[in-house]
């Protein structure tokens, strides 16, 4: 039974698969054709667009060139006009300045003459006064100096001399003390050791006798 079943089913299935494959192949062929047509269409469109683009670019460049030419012409015209105006303005200004300079020079000559005259007169007046003032000041200065000098001699110099003398005396006393001290120290260190014991004893007794005479023991 099974064998019979299998001998029927397997060929049938194979047939069905074959039919399906044939069908799919036909569909693919169909789609390929469609796609090829679409590619052709698109190629045509692209060529058209490219042509339009070039046309637009050419137009733009042509317009740009025209604009630049117009602008250059306009600029040249403006420059020419401006140069004319500036030349005429410069001439006018030069004239005015020249006039001003001439006027100023004239004015300066007049003023400087006036100043010179005034200055001369002031200087002569001043020199006369200054000389007089200087003489007065130097006289006063001399008098002050004389006063100070006499004051210095009377008070300062006297005090200074006194201070120097006092200082000298003080220093002499100080040096005397120092010399005395040095001599005493030397004498002490030399004599103290060199005096014999007997003499020391005799000098002590002498001191006692002297003390008795002076009334120390009364």
């Amino acid at each position: 039974m099974l064998m019979i079943f299998l001998s029927v089913v397997i060929p049938t299935a194979n047939l069905m698969i074959l039919l399906f494959l044939i069908y799919r192949s036909w569909q693919v062929q169909k789609e390929k054709k469609f796609l090829e047509e679409r590619v052709n269409e698109l190629t045509k469109k692209e060529a058209s667009i490219d042509s339009d683009y070039h046309k637009i670019i050419d137009n733009s460049l042509s317009t740009e060139r025209n604009i630049l030419n117009d602008a250059t012409k306009e600029a040249n015209s403006i420059l020419t006009n401006t140069q004319y105006v500036s030349n005429s303005l410069k001439e006018a200004i030069d004239k005015v300045l020249l006039k001003m300079i001439q006027d100023a020079q004239q004015q300066a000559i007049v003023s400087s003459n006036d100043i010179m005259v005034k200055h001369k007169s002031t200087l002569s007046q001043l020199s006369g006064k200054s000389l007089e003032n200087f003489q007065n000041i130097s006289k006063q200065f001399e008098l002050d100096m004389q006063k100070q000098m006499s004051g210095y001699r009377e008070t300062l110099l006297f005090n200074l001399q006194k201070e120097i003398a006092d200082y000298k005396q003080q220093k002499i006393k100080e040096s005397d003390k120092i010399v005395n001290k040095i001599i005493a120290e030397v004498a002490q260190s030399v004599l103290n050791k060199s005096i014999p014991l007997e003499d020391q004893q005799n000098l002590i007794i002498e001191s006692l006798e002297k003390s008795q005479k002076e009334g120390i023991f009364d």
Partner: protein, 164 residues
Amino acid sequence: MTNMGELILSDFFTTKSQANNFSARLSAIMEKIFELDFNLEKNLQEQFGNKKKDKFISLLTENEIPLESSSHLNKFFGQIQETVSALPLASLTFAIEPTEQILKSVSDWFLLNLKKQVLIEPEIDPSLIAGAVVAFQGKRLDSSIRSVFEQICANIFQSTPVKQ
């Protein structure tokens, strides 16, 4: 009876410190004086030495003190203590450390000239050179060589004219 004023102790001490030491040793003997086995000579020898012991015995004999009588001895020792504490004090500044001989000669000088014993309180000042500074009962005299020396120096400096 012994007259206190005539007690001469310069054989035993000359300075204040020696007197204090003597007094302390005498007190030590006095503490033992009434003991039954008290031996005077032995105690004197122990405290003062052989030489001073003999001098002490002589002092006792001179003052007619019976050596075997503890009460007489005690009374005499007390008198000595009073004499020591009543001795006048003289401060003497020496140029050198005084020897026993110098101290004795000074003490003898006081005995001879002042007719009394004077305790010496010695001080040392090497700057005196020689001689002494004597101070007694508030009075003082510097008769050292230093004072003479300073006087000579002062005279020399005063008499030397200083160039102005």
